[in-house]
């Protein structure tokens, strides 16, 4: 039996425990419903002790509520804390995110961790430093102004023998200080850790095999569970209604049991392979109405739906400006459902008792999923403890919360801890997909190359309001998906990049319960689709006035940060000014180069793409992508470069091949053959570029280059072929059809 060491510890254990590498590797009793330990409340962010604990060995544990998703947030957050505390990275540890150990800082979404939560942690670390300096002043008999700190050792300036360690000032005691928000913070000019390329703290264990992913965790007395659902979801809101179940169909599998709550269906067994086999063999009749549109008619259905329309921007007089324009570009663009398709399916362990529950899972928001778990289990939120373990990268809301709910429902039913791991078809088939997008775009330019008008109509449905396990178990109807940030035509992407006198942006919110799939935030939600449409429109205007696409953009930009990020990427790519498709070859392999700009909420992204198109087969290869970001003060440029590498490769994958397939009853792309993603054979070479702006606020850096890259790829296609691709993914079939048209 596996003996995994990662049993949960109470916050008190952590506070007295010294370096967390020790604390996390000692086997402690399961702190679950059967434990008699006193339950602690979620740490209060108003208390300094909720954020930082200094230990007697002169190390510190940092508590923050944002989870590591492979983006390096843990390393970046420790750099921020270490900077203000004047501690070296080797003296810092991060606590596991846990609703009873770490403060609630909101969900790890929208690339907000460093932007929104970095300042919170910086303030807390400054507060801790101030408190420690006051203790040191008393101990050393010198005023705070004369003290300096190096690696947690406080000394009197010019008298190195008069010194004391942080650890000796506070030992294992707590600060017992309220956050004032007024502690002085280090001037940027004095930074020695923030802004540098510190190696990631999680990489050595991830490479050696010692890193404990959620999928590795085992607890005593545990059963293995699997969910049982139709292969591939149908229309959102229909759930999966059970007509009949035949438990006798798994009677010959030792220890396998059916777990049913409402229409929630699962199996448990002592042995994992038995659980897998039982889920596969259990005979179930489902009622699945054919309420999805024929896939080829998806965009017709969206356009014809009873939309809720809103004006996002209305500036100037767009119709009049279009009427006077020297050239007008007008086209409709299409973006498909795309899947999160994490490399590993979601996994969770739950141990649910009469009065309490412990749930270990990979949710992007441990504090937030508590409420949903509590509702489903008929407990109160403070009876539910959620602990975070990293899973495979999801880039949005895939099935992590759903798997946590499934484990909790099964554990409550069988009275034992249950570990649920989704199968590949569960994860591919019951995802909250990135919704499809339909756009009508019109834009005008004058004879001098000034953009005079821009009009964008976008159709889009919202995101699932309920996890499937809850919907099935409680027989509850999901609320209609609503519009909101990243579910609306984005004015930051559409009207902030270029200076345009007349702009109209209209959002058409499609009712998501009227025969669509479950939607969810998928990396650079909506903005990838928007930039695909908008950046091609801008490129068409440049071509119409026979201008170089970079020079045309620069002419229509005023914000120095947009110009700066475009200059950074075009300079790295050695961009040679020319009119698109002016010097195209006639051979079978057409080569092209394109530029694109884009963002997601904030930050500035730019990309250049070099591609090849095989005119005979329609196969498009992205050979090289250059991607640049200006995200203000970049805490760790190496982390952001790695994010850009991933964004560029994923953008190529999404632009070229990714598309969820469905019949009228259910999703049919349920594995890596039916939902392919880019592999080694076809990934582009990449050049990541970070525009460092030490004196600007840190902003998101995990998704802002996606739209730019997809726009650049589409524009490179035109440069190569003289033909516009209005729909992605740019599959060989679509390419051949476009080249023939």
């Amino acid at each position: 039996m596996t003996t995994l060491a990662n049993m949960p510890l109470s916050r008190r254990d952590l506070l007295k425990g010294g370096a967390l590498t020790v604390a996390f590797n000692i086997a402690a009793p399961l702190f679950g419903p059967t434990s008699t330990a006193v339950r602690a409340a979620t740490p209060d962010p108003a208390d300094l002790d909720s954020w930082i604990a200094v230990h007697a060995d002169n190390t510190a544990t940092v508590f923050f509520g944002k989870v590591e998703l492979g983006q390096g947030t843990t390393t970046g957050m420790l750099q921020i804390a270490g900077e203000e505390l004047d501690l070296d990275m080797s003296q810092l540890r991060a606590a596991r995110v846990d609703t009873e150990v770490t403060p609630n800082q909101g969900p790890a979404v929208a690339s907000l961790s460093i932007m929104d939560n970095g300042p919170q942690l910086r303030a807390a670390a400054a507060e801790a430093r101030q408190a420690l300096l006051q203790l040191a002043a008393t101990k050393l008999g010198a005023p705070v102004e004369r003290l300096k700190v190096v690696d947690g050792v406080v000394s009197v300036a010019g008298e190195p023998s008069r010194a004391v360690k942080y650890g000796d000032l506070i030992g294992a005691k707590q600060f017992n200080v309220k956050m004032t928000g007024k502690a002085p913070q280090k001037p940027v000019a004095d930074y020695r850790l923030v802004g540098t390329r510190v190696a990631r703290v999680d990489v050595p264990d991830k490479v050696s095999g010692k890193y404990v992913y959620m999928q590795h965790v085992r607890v005593p007395n545990m059963l293995h569970g699997r969910i049982v659902r139709p292969r591939g979801q149908g229309a959102y809101g229909d759930g999966a209604r059970i007509a009949s179940v035949d438990p006798g169909s798994i009677a010959d599998i030792p220890g396998a049991r059916v777990v049913r709550k409402g229409d929630f269906l699962g199996v448990v067994a002592d042995n994992e392979w038995d659980a897998v086999r039982a889920a596969d063999r259990l005979k179930v009749m489902w009622q699945v109405p054919p309420r999805l549109p024929v896939q080829a008619k998806l965009f017709d259905a969206m356009r014809a739906s009873r939309t809720t329309d809103s004006v996002i921007v209305e500036e100037g007089d767009v119709p009049a400006a279009l009427a006077k324009a020297a050239h007008v570009s007008s086209a409709t663009y299409y973006g498909p459902y795309q899947a999160h398709a994490p490399f590993a399916p979601s996994c969770a362990i739950a141990d649910v008792g009469a009065q309490s529950a412990l749930v270990m899972c990979s949710t992007q928001y441990p504090h937030g999923v508590r409420g949903v778990l509590a509702t489903t289990l008929a407990l109160s939120p403070d009876q539910v403890r959620v602990q975070y373990y990293e899973g495979a990268g999801v880039f949005g809301r895939a099935c992590h919360d759903d798997s946590a709910l499934a484990a909790a429902i099964m554990s409550q039913a069988v009275g034992r801890p249950v570990r649920v791991q989704f199968m590949r078809w569960d994860e591919h088939g019951w995802d909250n997909y990135g919704p499809p997008h339909l756009a009508d775009v019109r834009a005008g330019v004058d004879a001098d190359g000034n953009i005079t008008a821009f009009e964008y109509h976008g159709w889009h449905h919202g995101w699932a309001t309920m996890e499937t396990s809850q919907e099935l178990a409680l027989g509850a109807a999901p609320q209609p998906p609503v519009s909101g940030r990243a579910r609306l035509v984005n004015k930051e992407t559409l009207s902030a990049v270029y200076a345009m006198p007349n702009v109209r942006l209209i959002n058409h919110h499609v009712p998501g319960l009227d025969g669509y799939l479950k939607g969810g935030n998928l990396r650079s939600p909506m903005d990838l689709s928007i930039s695909f449409a908008a950046e091609q429109t801008i490129d068409e205007l440049a071509h119409a006035v026979r201008m170089d696409p970079v020079a045309f953009r620069r002419r229509n930009m005023t914000d120095p940060r947009w110009i700066g990020v475009m200059d950074a990427v075009t300079s790295a790519a050695n961009w040679a000014p020319r009119v698109s498709h002016a010097a195209a070859s006639a051979g079978r392999i057409a080569t092209g180069r394109g530029v694109g700009l884009g963002t997601h909420i904030v930050s500035y992204g730019a990309a250049v793409a070099d591609i090849e198109v095989d005119r005979d087969t329609g196969e498009t290869k992205v050979k090289h992508l250059y991607g640049a970001i200006d995200a203000g003060l970049v805490v760790n440029p190496a982390l952001v470069e790695n994010q850009i590498v991933g964004m560029l490769v994923q953008s190529a994958s999404r632009a070229l091949i990714e598309e969820v397939r469905f019949s009228q009853t259910n999703v049919t792309s349920l594995d890596w053959n039916s939902y392919p993603v880019l592999r080694f054979a076809d990934h582009p070479d990449v050049t990541p570029i970070v525009v460092q702006r030490m004196n600007e606020r840190s902003t998101g850096a995990g998704e802002e280059v996606m739209g730019a890259a997809v726009g650049a790829i589409a524009n490179a296609f035109f440069d190569a072929t003289g033909v516009r691709m209005r729909e992605y993914p740019m599959t060989p079939d679509r390419v051949r059809a476009a080249l023939k048209a």
Binding site: E272, P342, F343
Partner: protein, 169 residues
């Protein structure tokens, strides 16, 4: 029906209780507590569960445990020792050169696919000490990385090739 099977994992004979048709992956993960091989798709499409069988990369999610009796299974955990044996080193290094190179390149993001990347990459380097870019792409094509860290894995395999050449001298 569960029976006692004798298999050889990371150069150690072990007895496990499992039905012969149980995929090797579940035995390695649940009976032996190994963290290298891990579930990804269960369909041999992604490479998450890769191990070496007599030095050749296989997918443990779709290989029945009964089929590996009498053969040598090497998991991620056993790669440094296998490397030492292949190179005639007195002591196994702490990490295989490819693992060291992946740290130098700061390659992973979530890192979940790195079991397969390291197992497959080490197999490639064992039979081709200086693979070309095309050879690397072809050899690694059965291994997915959803985070898109392929370019850094490519760079790490090239770096590992150089490290191994230096260690030879």
């Amino acid at each position: 029906m569960a029976e006692e099977l004798k298999i050889r994992v990371n150069d150690r004979p072990v007895a496990v209780a499992a039905s012969r048709d149980t995929p090797l992956l579940y035995v390695l993960a649940n009976e032996l507590g190994l963290q290298g091989p891990r579930f990804g798709c269960g369909l041999a499409q992604c490479g998450s569960c890769s191990v070496l069988l007599d030095g050749v990369e296989i997918r443990s999610c779709s290989t029945p445990v009964g089929a590996v009796e009498g053969k040598a299974v090497t998991t991620l955990e056993g790669l440094p020792a296998l490397y030492a044996a292949q190179r005639g080193l007195a002591q196994p290094p702490a990490l295989h050169p490819l693992q060291r190179a992946l740290i130098d390149e700061q390659a992973p993001q979530c890192g979940y696919c790195y079991n397969g990347m390291i197992v497959k990459g080490s197999e490639l380097l064992a039979r081709n000490a200086q693979p070309s870019e095309a050879e690397i792409r072809q050899a690694m094509n059965g291994h997915l990385c959803r985070c898109g860290s392929y370019p850094r894995i490519m760079a790490a395999i090239r770096l590992a090739s150089r490290i191994m050449a230096e260690e030879r001298t």
